[in-house]
């Protein structure tokens, strides 16, 4: 389906070039003046020392949400692995010791070297266990193996880093953990 894009013929002003050049010069002059007189308003950040502002919707490194008792919420259903276009999630399930939870995750590996950070895994999660809101955008490790995040890495996060998120606050150490603990648990009639 070829599409022919007709280019607009240049007007006489544009063909003269000098006025267009002036427009360009005006643009760069504005930017240069901002840099000189409003240095602090430059959008560039001094990277390693200054960190960029990461939005909540940014798909950063994964984390696994925790129940009030500290176990990962993940039930090892494999929906994330099924949704993953890069096939970088490896899950093994096992029987849970907790009678209230039948299935728990035994192994949860995400190979971040393979991951494309599309966010489909977090979308697919039926129990809101997998999230990509850590805002951790930098990965630096010595070895390739270190880029594989294991269950321990994924559940190692601090509720204090997510002050606005009520779900995170229900995890141990969070502000809502105590009341969540009371609700958590199935009391047999």
């Amino acid at each position: 389906m070829a599409r022919v894009i007709k280019q607009k013929p240049m007007t006489i002003i544009e063909r003269l070039y000098i006025f267009e050049a002036m427009r360009g010069l005006w643009t760069t002059l504005k930017h240069a003046a901002r840099g000189l007189f409003r240095y602090e308003e430059l959008p560039t950040i001094s990277y390693p020392e200054g960190q960029p502002e990461v939005r909540n919707s940014y798909r950063a490194k994964h984390r696994l949400m925790l129940r009030p008792d500290g176990t990962p919420r993940c039930v090892a259903c494999g929906m994330c692995a099924a949704a993953c276009p890069a096939h970088c999630i490896f899950i093994e399930a096992t029987q849970s010791d907790d009678p209230r939870i039948e299935k728990r995750v035994m192994r949860f590996d995400i190979d971040h070297l393979v991951c494309v950070f599309c966010g489909l895994c977090a979308e697919a999660c039926p129990v809101d266990a997998l999230r990509m809101d850590t805002k951790q955008i930098v990965f630096e490790h010595r070895k390739r193996e270190d880029f594989v995040a294991h269950l321990a890495d994924l559940t190692d996060w601090d509720p204090k880093d997510y002050p606005e998120d009520a779900q995170s606050q229900m995890a141990p150490g969070g502000t809502k953990n105590a009341e969540a603990r009371k609700v958590w648990g199935m009391e047999v009639k």
Partner: protein, 450 residues
């Protein structure tokens, strides 16, 4: 020994001291390199190079607003190994970079740095020219000097024994020839008006009539474009197109040989901007004020100069303060180091501001007309020196402005194709320049009659 005794020691001192102006382009290199790098950064919303630092007690890591980076780069270039490619003509290969750099020291000789100093010394009225060599054909000399720098490029390209270098030097020579014609012809109108080839005369004509940019706006544009083209900078950098010719005539050069080309290019810009400022922006003349008026109110003039400088220092302090405040509120991890560094800049800024204010007040209050002029109405040496200082400063400001134009144009406009460059030179600018010359000559004849 007549020739020595014909002048007093003060005259000799000033005449010899004027040779220091030969080093102005070299000093300009030190200014232009950071200006280009950080200016380019600002235009692209970057910060520019600002990481290198010197450790200083108390203030910590001093980066001199990014200036240390250029010192580091210079040091690196200086200590790199020099080598010639196999099959190169060794002598010419090593000599070629020196040519454009050597020209740098010749060109400033004919530029009038300040108006002729006229003062009374030892009962005699002494007159000292503003340029080192006050020639009647100063402008021709200047063109001659700056054309010489093309030899450096030609020789370098030829001696390198590299196709890229050779093609690059061919293009350079072709372009230099083309645009020198344009340059010369576009300036002719002004010479017709001024009626002299002497740069000093041209400046004084502008001072007493009108600036060249107003009298000859078309010529100004043509001359500016031709001069930018002659320096071989973007958008006319056809000699060193990266996709086609790698780095043009200096492809095979490294270390300080390359550094010499690099510095030669910047000093060429410097000379060119001095030339444009001199020809079209009234040279050393202060806008709207004649030299005589200024000398009549010497104390006030110096005071205003000092206060302008003090204002600049205060503005710098204000920007520093604003930026420190923002930085202190940010979460940047090294902000305390930077704030400590800024203390030094603020200190320097305050000292400069106070000194300039004080100097302004002093000259305002204590530089009385009695000190400025003798009873006969001739300037004292102090007034003459003060005038020269103001002139020099004004010229520097104007030339720096044009240096900025070079940088500004380079980082804005995309480069032209080679045939476009030639078309522009021979078919457009040359014709406009000739037309401008004819019109100017006719109008000048009709109106002026000289």
């Amino acid at each position: 020994m007549d020739i020595i005794e014909s002048k007093s020691w003060v005259e000799w001192l000033i005449t010899i001291a004027k040779f220091a102006f030969c080093f102005v382009p070299v000093l300009y290199i030190l200014l232009l390199i950071p200006m280009e790098r950080r200016g380019a950064g600002f235009m692209q919303d970057r910060q520019g190079p600002n990481r290198s630092y010197i450790k200083v007690p108390y203030f910590g890591r001093i980066r001199l607003l990014g200036y240390v980076q250029n010192m580091c780069d210079g040091t690196k270039l200086f200590f790199k190994e020099m080598f010639a490619p196999k099959g190169a003509s060794k002598f010419l290969y090593y000599v070629a970079p020196a040519i454009p750099f050597a020209i740098v020291f010749l060109s400033p000789c004919v530029i009038p740095w300040f108006g002729p100093m006229v003062f009374e010394w030892g009962g005699k009225v002494v007159t000292i020219s503003g340029s080192i060599l006050d020639s009647d054909v100063g402008i021709l000399l200047l063109f001659g000097f700056s054309s010489l720098s093309a030899y450096g490029a030609v020789l370098a390209g030829w001696a390198s024994k590299s196709k890229y270098s050779y093609l690059g030097s061919l293009r350079t020579s072709a372009m230099t020839i083309s645009y020198e014609v344009c340059q010369g012809l576009s300036m002719m109108g002004l010479l017709v008006l001024a009626g002299s080839f002497s740069l000093t005369d041209i400046v004084s004509w502008q001072e007493h009539h009108v600036w060249g940019i107003v009298a000859q706006p078309v010529a100004f544009f043509c001359f500016l474009i031709a001069t930018i083209a002659e320096t071989g900078r973007a958008p006319f950098d056809v000699a060193e197109g990266e996709p086609e010719l790698v780095a043009g005539y200096h492809t095979e050069y490294g270390a300080m040989q390359f550094g010499l080309f690099y510095m030669g290019e910047y000093s060429h810009i410097c000379i060119s901007s001095f030339l444009v400022a001199t020809l079209f922006l009234g040279g050393y003349s202060v806008p709207f004020v004649t030299t005589e008026t200024m000398q009549a109110h010497m104390g006030g003039s110096l005071a205003i100069l000092c206060w302008v400088l003090a204002f600049l220092a205060l503005a710098f302090l204000h920007m520093m303060h604003r930026y420190s405040k923002k930085l202190a509120a940010s979460r940047q991890s090294n902000k305390n180091v930077i704030l400590q560094e800024y203390k030094l800049y603020k200190l320097v800024g305050w000292v400069a501001a106070l000194v300039f204010i004080a100097a302004g007040v002093a000259s305002w209050m204590f530089y009385t007309p009695e000190m400025a002029h003798t009873a006969a109405g001739v300037n004292t040496i102090g007034t003459a020196l003060g005038t020269a200082a103001i002139h020099l400063l004004v010229l520097v400001v104007k030339s720096v402005m044009f240096c900025w134009v070079w940088i500004w144009v380079r980082w804005t406009l995309p480069r032209f194709r080679y045939d476009h460059v030639m078309n522009l030179g021979w078919k457009i600018i040359l014709n406009i320049a000739i037309l401008n010359l004819v019109v100017t000559a006719v109008v000048a004849k009709l109106l002026g009659g000289n």
